[in-house]
Symmetry: C2
Subunit: 346 residues, 2 copies
Amino acid sequence: MTKPQKAGRPTIRIVAKEAGVSQATVSRAFSQPDMLTPATVAKVLATAKRLGYVPNQIARALSTGRSGNIALILPDVTNPFFAALMRGAQAAAHKRGYATFLGDTDETAAQEDLLLTKLAVQVDGFLLASPRQSEENIRKHAARRPLVVINRDLADIGRVLVDTTGGFRDAVRLLAELGHRRIAYVGAPRGSWSNQQRAAAVEAAGAEHGISVHQIDAVRPSHEAGQACVGEALATGATAALTVDDVVAQGMIAGLSDRGLSVPGDFSLVGCDNVIASTTYPQLTSVDAHCAEAGARAVDLLLDSLLEEGPLDNSLVIPGELIVRGTTGPAPNPPISDPRPTTDTR
Amino acid sequence: MTKPQKAGRPTIRIVAKEAGVSQATVSRAFSQPDMLTPATVAKVLATAKRLGYVPNQIARALSTGRSGNIALILPDVTNPFFAALMRGAQAAAHKRGYATFLGDTDETAAQEDLLLTKLAVQVDGFLLASPRQSEENIRKHAARRPLVVINRDLADIGRVLVDTTGGFRDAVRLLAELGHRRIAYVGAPRGSWSNQQRAAAVEAAGAEHGISVHQIDAVRPSHEAGQACVGEALATGATAALTVDDVVAQGMIAGLSDRGLSVPGDFSLVGCDNVIASTTYPQLTSVDAHCAEAGARAVDLLLDSLLEEGPLDNSLVIPGELIVRGTTGPAPNPPISDPRPTTDTR
DNA sequence: CTGAAAGCGCTTACAG
DNA sequence: CTGAAAGCGCTTACAG
C-alpha cells in the first residue's frame, strides 16, 4: 500500500533544514512564537510559506492529546431545527479553530452510542443534541470526554437548554384570549426533554386559564406525523393546537387543508423553533428556539471548559419567546367538526 | 498542560503485555487477523475487550497515512437540498467505517478554499457539493487529495451530477400543454452548474414549444429571494415560473399570496429537488433531484477510488424526473397582472 | 505464524 | 532564546 499523497507535503524536518534551525524551533514558531526571537519566527514562517508547509494536525494530536476537533451528534440533520443548530455550532467552532465531525443518529439511541464511542479518540469534546439515550449512558460518555448536552437537563453535565416554557404559556394565554376553550398539544418523541417541557407548560397554562388540554403523541416529529394527527385533534373538539415543532405544525396545516379546513379561520396553530415558521403558508405563529445561538453557545461552553481543569458543569438557559404570525385567530363559533371523522389521513 | 483523558485508555502495549504477545500481534489481531492463528486472535481480542481497549485512530492515521475520515464541504446545511445530501453521505460513509467532517461555507468561495486546505491532512478524501469556487482552485485541491464533486461538471475529476434537464423539459412541456405562453425561470446563484443547466433546459424547451422564457436572477437560492422575485416575474406577463429549487418556489408562493394571487389558479409554479415539495401548501410540482442518493453515490465513488491507484475519473449521472403535484394548472385567461406593480415586496 | 525495531510528524521537558 | 532527544500509539517491512 502506498501512503497516499505523502509525497508532496513538506514536514517540519524539511523546513528546519531549509531554515537552518532545529525542528523544535520550527514547531515553536507555529505554536509558541513568543518563546522565540521575532527574527527567528519571521525566518521560519517565511521558509515554511515558501515550501508550502502546513503543520500536520494528526501528528500534533498524537503528541499533545488534543485534536482540534469536536463532534456534533444529533438525531436528524434533515430536521430544520438541527440544521440551524449545526450551522451555528460549526461556525462557532470554526471561528475558534476547531473542525467539526457530524454524526446523524437517525433518531436512535444505538447509533448515538456507536458514534460517541467511535469518535471519542478523534475529538476533544462532544456536542450532543437532544439525546435519545439513557441518562446512564450519557454519563458514561461524559466521563470519558468533555461533553455538552443540548436540550436535556442532566445535573453536573454541561448543558444548553432552550427554555420554551414562557413562550408556550404566552401562546396558551393568547389562545385563551382568542376564545379557544379546548386545545391540543401534539408532541414527539415522547421521552424527549423538549417535548416534556412543552407539554407540561401547555398543561399548566391551560389549567391556569381554565381551558382543557388534550395531549397527542405523534410517532415522530415529522410532517407526515403532524398530518396524521389532525383527525385525533379534531375528535377532541379542539379548535387550536400547539405542537412540539414547526414541522409538525406545518403537517397539521396540510392535514387540515386535506379536509377543507383553513388556518386560522377554522383552526389555530402554534409551532416551535421559528426556523421554517416564516416560510410556511400561512406563516406560523411559533415559539423561537434560537437554534443557531444554542449551537454556538454550546460550542463556547465546551471549548471554554477545555481550557480549565476539573469537570464540566456549566449550564446555560436560553429563553424562547412567542412570535405571533398568521396561524392564530379567534375560535370558530361553533367549533368546527371533522368533515371526515372516520377516514385515516394516511 | 495535562494530556486530557489519557489516563484511562489502555494502549496496545498494555494489551500486549497482558495477553503475553508482542505489540505487532495485537495490532494484527485488529487490522490483519488472517495473518494470525485463530487462537491468537481470540486471545488478544478477549483481553482487549476485558481492558476496554479501542485502537487509537489518530496513531493509526499517523502511521498509515489513512485517517478513516472524509469531509463534506457544502454551501449551506440549512438548505434542505444539502441537508438531505449530507444525510445520505454521512450514512453511506458510516456504513463503510468512515467518519464525516462537515464544512459549511456560507455560500462563499473563500470559506470553501479555507476548509479544503485546513481539513486536508485529516481526511482521506473530500466531497465537494455545488462548489462556488473557480475551476482552477478545485483542480488544485483535487491534485492534493482525492475529491468527488457534486453538481459541477469538471473533466477528469470524479463527479456526481444530478441531471435535471429531462425533468425541466417535461415541466415546460406540461406548462405548454396547460396553455401557458409566457413563463419565467428564476435561478441562483448565477454561476452554479445546476442553475445554468436548468436555465438552459428551460430555454431550449421553451423554444421548442414556442413559448417565451424570461430569465430572472435571484440573489440567493432562498425563500426571501424567491418572494422578492414575484414582481419581476409578473411584470413580464408570465403566468408560470420554474425555479432553481423548491425553497425559491415556496418563496414565490408567499410573494404571490402577498398580492392576493393564488397558486395554481392565478399562477403556476415548478420547483426542483423534491425535498420540501411535499410539505409546502399547496404541494409543489417539482423535479426530483434524488439528494440523498447523490450523497451516498458520491461517497461510494470516493471510497472506491481510494482502493485503486491512479487519478479519480469516474462520473455518475443521476437523472431527475418531474413529479406533478398541486402547483401547476391551466393558464389563467386573460393573464393576470400584478395588483401592485410599483410596490417593493421587501 | 510471531517478534524486534524503525518510523509516521509532531511536541515538550530538560539542558545549556 | 535554542537544540538534542524522548515520546505520543500505532503499523509494517524484515527476520526467523
